[in-house]
């Protein structure tokens, strides 16, 4: 007999593995409030991991007790199993261990890899760039393609290409810089990290790729919002939209040896950003915000309670 906790966790895991990310990925409201949507995605990612590993653990440990604290205590204190331990219990325990190790391993691995790549980028940058005259804390990279990016970390770097500076006027450039600064100020690379791990650990799960793409898009929208809020000028939304379209036009024109094979990643995401800047959707009502945040909280609370609750 499957303990009720394991069954409930398995149902939750199944919901979080497909229908929930599919619904949130298709919903229209996230672009009205990217930050709340990002919180929801984080909750889905975390609750998904908790419930699937939890379900396997609770089922695998069922012969020792019908709740995780009870069974865990029994195993730790070396008590014999009360019920016979069958093959499926061992399979569940092995799967739980493999999945947990894989998720944590991928997380550690991608952390280490990005740290190494960032160091290399920084070394290269310090060699080839000079401070940008137009923007004191940014660096200027001599390259015809209009590109802006930032390297997060203890000493963050904001980089503009000379192509970007040539293409945009001062107000548009300020909008680009404000966008990149928003990424750095809110540590958006950390929002992406769990989804990099999910996608690498479970490449067969379409929801993992979908979630990663959605989070990537929301992070850009959030940075757009922050940038627009911090900009002066008559119409900062339009200025930022112009900057995006100009940067895209240059890139699509094949300027200066941009490897085109790798480019078609963002797809419709750029259009969504521009449309959103030009015709801003009405902000989410306070009640809807609160409801979404409450759902995110519940998502985390339910598997935690199920895992820690005594046997049902």
């Amino acid at each position: 007999m499957l303990p009720a906790t394991a069954a409930a966790l398995a149902v939750l895991a199944a919901l979080l593995a497909w229908p929930v990310p599919a619904l949130l990925g298709r919903a229209r409201w996230p672009r009205r409030d990217p930050l709340v949507a990002l919180v929801c995605w984080q909750a889905i990612g975390l609750a998904g991991g908790l419930s699937i590993i939890g379900a396997l653990l609770v089922h695998g440990l069922a012969p020792w007790g019908h709740s995780l604290p009870e069974a865990g205590w029994a195993v730790l204190t070396g008590q014999p199993a009360r019920d016979p331990v069958r093959g499926d219990h061992w399979v569940a325990l092995t799967l739980a261990a493999v999945l947990a190790a894989e998720l944590l391993g991928v997380l550690a691995l991608s952390w280490a890899r990005t740290a190494r790549a960032r160091r290399r980028h920084r070394e290269l940058l310090e060699l080839v760039v000079r401070p940008a005259d137009a923007v004191p804390d940014a660096r200027l990279l001599e390259h015809p393609a209009p590109v802006a990016f930032c390297i997060p970390g203890a000493r963050p770097l904001l980089v503009l290409s000379s192509g970007m500076v040539a293409e945009l006027d001062d107000a548009q450039l300020a909008a680009v810089v404000a966008h990149e600064r928003a990424h750095l100020a809110e540590h958006h690379h950390l929002y992406l990290l769990p989804f990099v791990a999910w996608e690498a650990a479970l490449p067969v799960l379409p929801a993992a790729a979908r979630a990663h793409a959605a989070v990537r898009e929301l992070v850009e929208m959030r940075a757009d919002d922050r940038a627009v809020a911090s900009l002066a000028g008559p119409d900062p939304r339009r200025t930022l939209a112009q900057a995006i379209v100009l940067a895209v036009g240059g890139a699509a024109g094949g300027a200066g040896g941009v490897p085109s094979g790798a480019l078609a990643v963002a797809g419709g995401a750029v259009s969504a950003r521009v449309a959103r800047l030009l015709g801003p959707p009405s902000p989410l009502p306070a009640a809807a915000r609160a409801a979404a945040l409450a759902c995110a909280g519940l998502l985390l609370l339910v598997p935690t309670v199920l895992l820690l609750a005594p046997a049902l």
Binding site: S110, E142, G261
Partner: protein
């Protein structure tokens, strides 16, 4: 007191401007206005060598030359930032990802109509 990064950039500048390999003592003389000790020049050179930016030959004294031009380094960086490199996560998604020409055209239209 100049930072090491600043010194590295300056030394690379001299190496890039030179016609051929340059010895440490020549570098010190070329940067005479900075009054560097020869050991400092060697420190900077070995750091640059550790990062793969310079190579030395077997002549006596050793002479150093850059492994690539400034443009090649810039191109390598751009390739990693723009390209399909697996470590793209290292930079935070660039300002705009790539779009195909059709979407670029639609975007310009969108902007013109609003």
């Amino acid at each position: 007191m100049a930072s090491l990064g600043d010194l590295e950039r300056t030394v690379m500048g001299v190496l890039w401007a030179a016609d051929g390999p340059v010895a440490a003592a020549e570098l010190r003389d070329a940067l005479a206005d900075r009054e560097l000790a020869l050991t400092t020049v060697h420190t900077v050179l070995s750091r640059l060598e550790g990062k793969g930016f310079v190579r030395h030959d077997d002549a006596r004294p050793r002479r150093f030359r850059p492994t690539a031009t400034r443009e090649q380094h810039a191109a390598e960086l751009m390739h990693e930032v723009l390209g399909a490199s697996a470590d793209r996560q290292a930079v935070l998604a660039r300002f705009v990802g790539g779009v195909d020409p059709e979407e670029a055209r639609l975007l310009r239209q969108l902007l013109a109509e609003s």
